[in-house]
């Protein structure tokens, strides 16, 4: 099939960007979306032009690196998959496709479709862990965890840190991402000791990074490739409230 692409090109963080149209031909429906961009890029390089820069690595939906807003939707038209898992059979011949980077103040554009998501790392550094050193921990089976709770914690833990939730939200809120980690650790016995501290610190860091407030539109969860549930945000709010009531950090 033949397609018209309108792609956001921006040389670097300082310069202004714009949408640039490209034609690609002979696209096979078996190609992945990123392979289609590879074809375009090979052509651009052949012509001596700079290829479209985009983040990607695993190309199987798990590293969280790929990040394109396709026709206005983070990770494209299909639910519960990442950009790299999208295949061209989801598009039709002659279509025009717009491709843009994540748009959020806290994720500044680095180049073309590449953005800086280091704010997420800093939120985890603020408290998204259990403080145990290597060695000297109890036997793995010393504390049984009911399967239901382990499974629920797992569901929250599947977040890949891609940032689509932020890109989808009109307020650029990072609540879904933060709630996934807070909920995972709050559910597990290992996370109890630092439970209150953790949520306060992570929220404080989230605010410092300039992410917006949550107004419960649910767009985040709808676009999340891992189907991270909104109930995690409810949990986060509860955790935060009870932490504030009994705060150690006044």
């Amino acid at each position: 099939m033949n397609l018209t692409l309108k792609i956001w090109r921006q040389k670097n963080a300082q310069e202004k960007g714009k949408m640039v149209p490209y034609e690609v031909s002979e696209v096979s429906p078996d190609m992945s979306f990123l392979e289609m961009i590879d074809v375009l890029n090979e052509q651009l390089v052949k012509d001596g032009d700079e290829p479209v820069h985009f983040d990607h690595d695993c190309r199987e939906g798990i590293c969280g690196m790929c990040s394109m807003v396709i026709n206005g939707r983070p990770h494209g038209p299909k639910q519960h998959i990442t950009t790299c898992q999208l295949h061209m059979r989801s598009f039709s011949d002659g279509e025009t496709i717009t491709i843009e980077p994540w748009r959020a103040g806290s994720f500044p554009v680095v180049k073309d479709l590449v953005v800086d998501r280091s704010a997420f790392d800093r939120i985890i550094q603020a408290g998204g862990y259990v403080s145990v050193n290597t060695g000297g921990v109890p036997d793995a089976n010393a504390i049984p965890i009911p399967k239901r709770i382990a499974d629920e914690a797992f569901d929250a833990a599947t977040c890949i840190g891609c940032g689509a939730c932020v890109a989808a939200c009109k307020n650029a809120s990072a609540m879904l991402f933060v709630s996934a980690k807070v909920a995972q650790l709050a559910m597990l016995p290992q996370g109890q000791v630092e439970r209150r501290n953790r949520v306060e610190k992570m929220i404080a860091q989230m605010d410092e990074e300039g992410f917006g407030a949550c107004t419960n539109t649910g767009a985040c969860s709808a676009e999340c490739p891992k189907d991270i549930s909104l109930t995690n945000i409810a949990k986060l709010n509860r955790e935060y409230m009870s932490a504030k009531l009994t705060s150690d950090n006044i």
Binding site: D30, E42, V45, P51, G128, N133, T134, G135, V137, P146
Partner: protein, 642 residues
Amino acid sequence: MSTVLNSKVPEGPIAEKWSKHKFNVKLVNPANKRKYDIIVVGTGLAGASAAASLGELGYNVQAFCFQDSPRRAHSIAAQGGINAAKNYQNDGDSIHRLFYDTVKGGDYRSREANVYRLAEVSVNIIDQCVAQGVPFARDYGGLLSNRSFGGAQVSRTFYARGQTGQQLLLGAYSALSRQVANGKVKLHSRSEMLDIVMVDGKARGIVTRDLITGKIESHSAHAVVLATGGYGNVFFLSTNAMGSNVTAAWRAHKKGAFFANPCFTQIHPTCIPVSGDHQSKLTLMSESLRNDGRVWVPKKAIKGLLAKDAVKLAEEDRDYYLERKYPSFGNLVPRDVASRNAKTVCDEGRGVGTTGLAVFLDFKDAIKRDGKDLIEAKYGNLFDMYQQITGDNPYEVPMMIYPAVHYTMGGLWVDYNLQTNVPGLYALGECNFSDHGANRLGASALMQGLADGYFVLPYTIGDYLSGISYEKIPTTHESFVKAEKEVKDTVNKLLSIKGSKTVDEFHKKLGHIMWDYCGMSRNEEGLKKAKGMIRELREEFWKDVNVVGSPDELNMSLEKAGRVADFLELGELMVDDALHREESCGGHFREESQTPEGEALRIDKKFSFVSAWEFTGENQEENLHKEELEFENVKLTQRSYK
């Protein structure tokens, strides 16, 4: 020769070596640890666990990765699970059994003492991960659940649905993040190591390129740890992440570190077949599928047989070749055997699909036996993924699979302390050669990465550091200045060629050569031919590659070009190693060395050694050193799965 390669395996009975060694190594006084700087390149399971543990001990750590976040290292993609000799299932597992299985699985080409230690510390890994909040699968009693993996006779594999690597890496990443917050680890993301710096014969730092600004920077330390993953992408198509590369290990090799067993690569039998020239990577379908799926091709070649037509083919026209040839293991033969047999039937013209390079993996009988619901519960996400990629529905038609490059057992040579032959330079995880011999067992790479990082290096590195002074070497030192200049020169050279071919064109060509002549089966004639072809391709690369953009900005063509340049050199060494090893063992099948039934034939008398190659200069033949392997605790047998 042996003086060059001292494996430093401690004396004593195998079960006591590690405890004794831990007691004998010199320690760094807690108050002095902060005086030592350690560079850790790579934040996968091996690198993140090492950096976090070293930070906890009090060392100053600098951690590097080329992705935008340490959490995205290729380890994240591991699916199946991690082995540990916990024997929670009471099915007869033990440290000794895991040790034995790993040595045997590796076809007796690994170092006994290292493997024993790996089995020994495996149990600590699970404890550590659970304490971090890693949500492993549990059974209804709330205890950890296990499965049997890759044909193992015991259930020792811990897993987190199909995302074990992700959960383990996020655990290690959280420990790393905690040390970043504590100020003990400084993180450099989007930063690529391009050289190591030697001062007085010791590794004392690295040179990196900041991938955003293009700035070439030097970093000085008392020791350098490489945990930069495997080199499967030398084949262009593999199950590895797109960015996985050999650059860090290769540049270290060129500075003196020996490269061991480069030809030992693992080809995984259950991957989604190539669909066309546009293909950029191959997707692994978990090995667990072979527990219920039956592998077959038609008895007589049918050109272009598609899955939807295959359902109509009568039973008597199908050849379930693994069940036929290996009645006792059937579809569960080890990876190398399954892969080779798929190649054989395709070479006979009996392959299926439009390319003829695929075999069927059929769930028809399993669905009939267990019902669709049960199969869906077990493999639902894999079936969905398969359908998303291929458009076929595996509940209704058989899957098509074909082998793909998956893992590299070879890597930098290291001694028992995980130190390379270069003092102060360590290698962990898939980046080193240790532990898996000629073939890795399923669920053992995650175990090795975390063993190296959490439980081995933190002990052994102190032994080295305690023997050198705290004094820091400034990055203005001539060795840094020289290394920086070399890196800049290479970058500028790549950008100045302005030829007519893209980097990917070269990479794809190299991949074809490697796959055709140094892939699932190898012979002298083909290997010699490949050597010539790689040399020619390399020459052409340096004359005719087109790398666009400038050096001082985010430039992904430039990044790729540097990596492919290194693959073009590594490829030749892999071929040399494969040529030299005139036996079949594990993933290395030399056609000249097979049993009358066509199975791999090891030649222990001649080839029971680790080959360790020494770089001697650009475009020069490398020197081979041999570390003889001694087996005192396992008896060498030919593997048989009949």
